[in-house]
Structures are given as C-alpha cells and as structure tokens.
Subunit: 592 residues, 2 copies
C-alpha cells in the first residue's frame, strides 16, 4: 500500500465538542474524525475509526481462533418464532427492535443470538462425537436502549463478538467457560485495558455461573466491589449474608408511638429518640425498617404492588432491584396507586399489615407482596410504620411480630460493608462491562430441543455457554483509557496509522524529504500518513495530537542540518535524529 | 495458522437438495455446508461460506482502494428524515423495511445509502478543494423483496459494496464513473465471471447515465440484448426508435367491421382476414393494435387506469413496464375496475375513445390515459377495437383517426429485432446483475443541500455518482458459474481452502504421512484441510468434490510405494506424485 496523504484523507477535525458528549472518549472520537452520529445511539464509522475497529476485531478473532472457535455469521434480521419459544420476544420488552415484513410477519433485530445458534447446531449435529463445539460471530447487534449514552460506549446499533459453546456435560461446559475466560483475559491485555473480572448476575440470559470483564474507569456505568481477599462482584451480584437468628426473649413488646410529621428516616430517628429514648445509645437510621413500595410490571404488562423492607439508612439500589426482578420491572408507585391500595398508608407503611397471608383493606382483595432485606433476620428488632398516619411502632421483632414473603437483596452496597468472603471491608469502584461470560446450562437447548445421542445411544440435552465481548465498545474504552487533554493517544497496536510525518514549512525540500521518508517507512511495514496539507505547522501538530498517531515525525527547520524531530505521543517525549537514521529510530519506537 | 481437521470443522454435507433450491448454486451452497436458511431470503454463513465471502470482500476492497476509494461504515438502522426529503421513504414502497423505535420514531433498514453519504459529506466538507472524493462501504443491506430467490442470489438481508463519488463538475463525475467502471471490470475478472456491461435504466435512483455489470447465466433474472455492432442493454433500457411518419393519403377511411367472438389477437386476425381481406397479403398480428389496460398505482396509493396501445403480436414486458412507470406500479385491471369504467369494453377497447381530451362515459368523469408504442407512428394504420362489443375498426390511422397522450416503450424486445444502433438484429441472453454504476448528478445533493464553494467563492451543488456491487451475490454467482453435477468447484483464489488431504485407509502410517503433508503445505502458505474423519474414502471423495476444494491429495494405498494422488477439482485431472515431491507439485498447481 502507498502511504496516505492527509490532504486526501476523508477527515475534518472539529474545534467544538459535540453537544451530547458525556465522556472524553466520545468527545475526542467525534472531534478527531473517527465516528459521526447518524441518529441517537447510532454512529457512522469514518476512515480513521474503521481502521481502529478492524484492529480490535482482528485481536478478538485471533483469540477466538486460538481456543478453537469457528467463525460463522448470522443475520441481524431474525424471525420471531425462536424468541417466542424462549419467551425473550416478550421478556426483552422495549429493548427489542421489532418490525413486520411486507407480509405482516413479525421479525426482530437480533440483540443476541442464543436461539439462532441453538437451532443451527440442532439442525446440523446429532451426536456426542460432534461435541465439544465453539462457534462465534463478529456481528452487528441491535438494542433499543432507553438511554443510549456516550457515543459508541452504549449504542443502539453496535458490534459484538458473541460465541456459544456446546457440550455434552458440565465438565465440558466448565472447560469451554475456562477457555473463554483465558481468551478474554488475552483480549483485555492486548487492548491494554486495566480490568477486573467480577461475579455477575446472569440477567435475561438465564443460567448459572456468570462473570463480567469490567474495564476500570470513573465514567463507568457499572459499580463493582472488591474485598481485601480478592472477592470481586458487580453490585447486582453482591449477596449480603443473612445474620444468624438473634435471641429476642429480652426485647420488650412492640409499642405504637406517636410520630407526627416523621415522613423521613431522619425525622423519624429524631422523633423516636425524644418519644421513646433507648437507654444504651441513641436510635439511628439502621434501627429503622423502611418499607419502600413499587409497582412490579411483568413483560406482559401485568401489575402488582411490591413492598421492600430494608434498614432505613440504606436505599434500594436501582440496578440491583432491576437485576433481582428481571424480566419484570419495578416502576414508581403513584399517588393513584395509593388510592387503589388504601391499606398502604404513605409514609407510615409497616410490615405487620404486609405480606404472607395478611389481607390489607384493599379495593378488590389483592395481597401485597412483602420482601425483606437479608439483614432483617429472625430476632432483629425494628422501628417501623404502624400503617396508621403519624404513628410508628418500636420493638417490632422479625419472627415474633411480623414476617415477610421472602428475602430480596437489593439494598445499596456501601464502601466499607463487610465483604461476603469475610476478608474485610468492601471497596467500590466503577467500570464498563467489556465482556460477559455465562454458563447457560440447558435452558436454551431444552426450550428449543437441542439433544444429541450420548455414548449409550441415549438422547441428552446439550449444555451451553454464551460469551460476549463488545467490539465497538472496546474502541471507545481504549480511547477513554488513553486520551488526555490534547486528544487521543492510541496504543501502537490499535492506532489507525503508526506514524504521521508533519511537513513543517513550505520549502520544496521539506516535502521532498518527507515524501521519501514516508515511502521508506511504508516499505519497512509501517502505516504512514503524510501531513501534506497547506495549513500551518501549529494546526498540523494540534491535529496529530488530537488524532493520536503514536509517532510524529516533524520535517522542518532541522532538515538543513540533516535532522528531523521524532515525537512519541503517549510518552510525550521528543528526540532529534539524523534523517538517514530516522527510519531505524522510528521502527525502534514502533516495535518497543 | 495450523491446518484444519475436517473432523472438527463445523460442517455437515447434506444428501438432500433443499426444498426451495431453484438454481444449482443455491442447492450446492446449502448441501455443501456454506450457508443455511434462517428465514425467507435470510441466510446464516457457515465457516466455509464465510471464508469465501471474506476473499470476495478482500478483492472488492483492494479494487476500491486502488481507485482511491476510502472506506467508511454506515449504520443499517437509519432515521426516516433524510429518506423523507428525497421521497424514497414513500417511493421504496413495500421493499423498505420500516420500524418504530421505543419512542415511536420512524426508522428504516437501509436498502442503499445515497442520502446518508450526501449528508456526511455535507457535514464535513465545504470547498471544491475537498473534492474529488470517493467513499465506499462494504455493508449489510435490507430489501423486503416480494420474491426472495435462489438463496443468497436475491436475499432480503445481503452484503453490498456501495460507493459514492463527489465532484465539483460533470468532468469530475465522468472521471469517477470511468474509474469505477474499470475497477468493476477488474473485480469481475478476478471473480472469474463472464460478464457484459449493458446500458441500464436508473430506476429509483434518479440520475442519467447508468450501466449494469451482468454475469452471464441462463438462470439470470435479467434479460439483455446485444447487437452485432456491440450495443448492449438490459431490456428495460432498450429504446425502440420511432419510425418516420408515413404518408397515409392512400389509406381508405376507417371502417367498423363485425368481429363477434374475436377476443384474442389470433381470432381477430382470422376474422378480419375473412370479413375484410387485404389485397396485397393476409392480415397478421402486427397489423392489429392491442390496447392493454392496467391500473396504475402511485407510491401514495392513488390509482388511475392506464391503457397501452401496442402491436398485437407483442406483449407488454412486465419489467420494461415496471421500469417505465417507476416509482408507480401497474397492477391488473380487475373486473370490478371494468364496472367502474363502463367506457372500457373488455376485449374491444379501441384508441378513439381513449387519451388526450377524450372523455369516456365513466362513472365520475375521469379521463383514461392512453400511451402508445413507438411503432405506432404518424400515418401507420391499424386494426383495433371499436369500443363496442363484437366490433373492430380497420384502417385506423394514427394522426388521422386517433392520437395518444404520449409514447411508452414497454413492448417485449425479441430476438431478431433491429438493434437501436442499426448494426443488425438483436440477440437476447440472460444474466444476473452483479454491479450497477450510476451518474446520479445533482439529484441527492440538491435535495439535501450539499453545496461547496467553488474557485470563485460561489456555492455550487456537488455532482454525485453511486456505484454498487453485490458481495454475497458474487459468492452465489461464482458458485453458479463453476459448479457441476458433483458440486462446487471454486476457482483457486476464492476457495475456502486450497487443499484437502484425504486419508484413504485406516493404517496409522497413512494418517501420519497425511499430517506431515498437511503441516508442510501450511508452512508453504497454503490453507489446508485434513480429512481425518472416521468415514469411508468414498464419502470423503464425494464430500471433497461437493465442497469443491480446488486440490485433493489422496494418501492411500500408493503410500507404501511412496506416492500420493493429486487431483484437480476443476480440471477433473489426477496425477500420481512421489510423497516427497507432493508439496512442490501442489504448490505448482495452486499457483498456476
């Protein structure tokens, strides 16, 4: 390939930040001419962006091939039926792009392809001898995100590598899972991303064991926790261990107290300290039992109220709640809803009237499901609402005075909470989900009838795994992790070009030398851009820094003394080298 | 890369033809495990198919890069607005996949991207100095074909390379067009396809000059014509030249004659030869003027009747009609429609009552548009319907007794018709459209406001070209052109693998020798499959022929004498070579 002339490259660097830029990578990828918005959450890849994307794809392809993955390619436009069978046509809710073809047939744009892979293998394979099998694709996916965000970090059309493993037994699945785990570690390392592997919920996928690969960034949407002992999980997957039952024989009987105006936990604590002070210490928020009411909505639209009881000093974590209820959703309980459920006294909801077997004075005769935090263990005593306006109850003991329909572990996880592995306090950090590996088990194979004959000629259901990694997202994350106040600063293995040669001056000798150098560098196997534009050196320097070419060579005033300047974008360093040693010096940098 | 073991390749060759296979390529691509149907007109690419597809893509990419094209990548999911501006949101009719996102916003799946490219260039470029520019993408396209056909030959989701040129003037556009023409010739040659470049209609694209690259095949959907002098056009684009006006002073007055039961042209000719015989010769079908009535439907659903008058020995060609009316459609005129238009007497429609200014006795007072074939020139005399049951008129002279609202050139083109270039009779053949190059001109740039400053600082509208080539279709066509009764027979530059090594026997020495040979061949740069499956040599031979590996090496009985057999799939030849000369012999074949 000949080198590229910047005067002919389809590129305009922009002076203004895009109005919707939320994170630096988004800003720089747009300003430096890598991507361009086509619609909300939907982007066009410009020549520079496409070059980076191709390098990321190549890395992922190599690592998948290395574990024996075989590449296939599914359509994005899919029939409804298989997703109907697994119920995901409904469960995906508004995240699924649905459409009808000219004959009125329901179709969808694939958000992920478990069903299709399962059916393909069912279609072609029939024996244990055909397994193990790992198939993958690098393919465009569609999800109608409620909040597309940060450019290509969370888009509605994006590229994913998704792979699927097919095994005859658990041991096979575990081996396929482990191989993917290693492959994903290699990918993260080759992308140069600082990452952590955390336990995850399997969400809409079903299945059992599941881990996420999170790239660390303060802009991350995912919060995760780590313990001194190495436990790591995203907040959705953290499980708080229930305390042992407590002896409650010494606790006085539950007593109603007047608490006018105590609509907040803070006001309640103040009030109860005045009206019914403790002798040992003051009441605090963690002594109160807050009962939060939601309307639970199932994918088919059915609604029922749900009350969650948790210590008053903690909030319900939205993401943990979403993960716990999936595929159902929780939406706010409206004033109208309170009118329909007069037994729920806003601000004074108490556990006694709720849950198992308790019929509230409702319109109709619906029961209200009541779920409690694991910390609400047998024998623990609480201050909570009395289901009567301006009244609370103290010394409400779980297992003595009230009970619930079950446990729900959705309270916020806090820095300093004890780690589930018992090795000390948790620390919190933020990251972006780059990869997700799942042990699906038999869910999809059972639903769609993927069975093979085993060694004894008996039909057995295949065990599957599902493994995804964000390809377009990886471009954003690498940009995010490496950019600075001047722009992008690509690692050498992912940069759109290795070197830019900046012609700094108008003398023909400069252009001549630069052209020769560009040609020599191309011959040495580097990808070279010659900035031959008729603009000032200052503009060229600023652009080369914003675009983030790893190496810049400045052919300028030094040339008459036989030298050029070689700059390293990421290190911020610069050296002067003799023109006839420039190729060697640049190769040394590039291969470092 | 290590060589591939056939025992582990995700592949099952099938014994049965797929039920919907219409052409050999479709049958073999499915049976040999290259593609698999996911929905009507929508296919999954299996490992073998994907390898061929990648090679086709690489050829197209190289040729586009060679003419200075710059690769970008647009989304497939697009906003409605730009297509609204150019009216294609409507004009595409039911061929467009339309959908709404979660907010109810109208979107579409891109059938082609003129609008988006125009807007992108408008977004970033502003000066004549930025031009010329050629951008391209290799991307998944969507068209909701009424009749998806022949596997990947005409799918609803398919891959296309589409490129767009942007120039300041006509000369620039012509240069970009010519460069694409050459690039497409290179592509067709590298694909090994026999092809012809024909004049084409520009259809829904708008614009002026347009040519198609047709790959020759008797299964082609496109009929084209050629003249001895080198004229070539698809039938839609053939224009019949109107004869010079004829002196009609000698022609007797028009006379109505009874023609009971003459509902067909054949019966009419027989009848008129009896009732009003000519003195010079017998009447034949070409003396009659057949008036065919259609209902014309515009993209917004408006309907109006259209009568087409043409010589009775020719039919209206459906594709020529479709092209001539686009974006309107012609649908059959129903019996109900005849009831609404009582002036149209079925079987006896005549020109006098039709067309310019003639008001038929209709319900309402609508006029019926009447268009005539170019052969209906001034002075020509015809036998035609009298608009009265069982009655025709002879000596109806165009320009004396009747006229029309205009010319429509949609009669079938026949083998032997005089060529428009005057070099002799036309011959007809069939082909598949592989590429299409268009001079769009300013249509899209004007609609979407793509202007740049010229050398005088004046805003001028950019001139565009649009160029498409079918990528997935190319895979089908190469398969079609090379397959035989045993299966596929890939050209060496497109085959999924270069060589298969067939282990023909169970002795460990055979497998050992085959493995060594496979490794040696891989080291020499070939892509190798080792057929190590535990099946009979006969099955392996049949599969290797069906899959179409260009070279097979049989490691079998000859091994004890130090030889293997090397077979050339396409040539059908075979040679025995010494084991230690096998690599050299195979390389020679592969590089021939």
């Amino acid at each position: 390939m000949p080198y590229t002339r910047m005067s002919q490259l389809f590129l305009r660097t922009l002076r203004e930040d895009p109005a919707d830029a939320e994170v630096p990578s988004h800003k720089w990828l747009v300003r430096a001419g890598y991507i361009r918005r086509a619609a909300p959450g939907i982007y066009t890849w410009l020549p520079l962006g496409l070059r980076v994307l191709a390098k990321v794809e190549a890395i992922i392809r190599e690592e998948m091939d290395a574990i024996g993955g075989q590449e296939v390619h599914f359509p994005a436009l899919l029939p409804r039926e298989p997703y109907e069978v697994t119920n995901r046509w409904i469960e995906y809710g508004p995240n699924l792009f649905r459409l009808k073809d000219r004959k009125g047939v329901d179709m969808l744009l694939g958000p992920t392809h478990e069903e299709m892979f399962t059916l393909l293998v069912k279609d072609l394979y029939s024996s244990y001898k055909d397994l193990p099998l790992v198939l993958y694709q690098i393919q465009t996916k569609y999800r109608d995100e409620a909040r597309p965000r940060a450019g290509i970090l969370r888009g509605r059309e994006f590229i994913m590598k998704d792979s699927y493993s097919f095994d005859i037994d658990e041991a096979g699945l575990q081996a396929a899972y482990d191989k993917h785990r290693v492959a994903y570690q290699h990918v993260m390392e080759r992308l140069g991303l600082e990452y952590v592997i955390v336990r995850a919920m399997s969400g809409a996928m079903g299945g059992s064991r599941s881990e996420e690969f999170l790239a660390l960034t303060p802009f991350g949407e995912d919060t995760f926790v780590r313990s001194p002992g190495g436990y790591a999980a995203n907040v959705e997957a953290v499980s708080v261990s229930a305390p042992e039952p407590v002896d409650y024989s010494d606790i006085a009987a539950a007593t109603a107290i007047p608490t006018p105006g105590a609509g907040t936990i803070e006001a309640l604590v103040e009030c109860v300290n005045q009206v019914a002070p403790r002798t040992d210490r003051e009441w605090d928020g963690s002594d109160t039992l807050k009962n939060v009411v939601f309307m639970r909505v199932s994918p088919d639209g059915k609604k029922s109220p749900l009350v969650i009881g948790l210590p008053g000093d903690r909030e319900v974590d939205e993401k943990r709640l979403e993960a716990a209820l999936s595929p159902d959703e929780a939406v706010p309980f409206t004033d109208e809803d309170f009118v329909s459920y007069p037994g729920l006294v806003k601000g004074y909801i108490g556990p006694v009237a709720l849950g198992a077997g308790q019929v509230l004075g409702l319109k109709g005769s619906a029961k209200v499901t009541y779920l409690t935090d694991p910390r609400v263990a047998v024998g623990t005593a609480w201050v909570s609402g009395a289901n009567v306006a301006d009244t609370h109850v103290v010394n409400l003991v779980f297992g003595r005075d009230f009970t619930s329909d079950g446990v729900i572990d959705v309270a916020e996880v806090r820095e300093g909470d004890e780690s589930p592995d018992g090795t000390g306090p948790l620390t919190l950090a933020r990251g972006v989900e780059m990869g997700h590996i799942f042990q699906l088990g038999k869910k999809y194979a059972e639903a769609l009838g993927l069975k093979v004959l085993d060694q004894n000629g008996k039909l057995v259901t295949v065990t599957m795994g599902s493994y995804g990694i964000g390809v377009t997202r990886a471009v954003a994350m690498v940009a995010e992790a490496t950019c600075d106040e001047k722009g992008l600063a690509w690692p050498r293995n992912l940069a759109p070009f290795d070197v830019v040669i900046v012609v700094a001056g108008k003398e023909p000798a400069l252009m001549e030398a630069a052209e020769k150098l560009a040609a020599d560098l191309e011959v040495s196997g580097l990808e070279v851009v010659l900035d031959d534009r008729n603009v000032s050196p200052g503009v060229k320097f600023a652009d080369s820094e914003m675009i983030g070419y790893p190496t810049s060579v400045v052919v300028g005033r030094g040339l008459k003394d036989g030298v050029v300047e070689v700059r390293d974008r990421a290190a911020g360093t610069s050296q002067t080298v003799a023109v006839d040693e420039a190729v060697a010096a640049i190769l040394e940098l590039a291969q470092a």
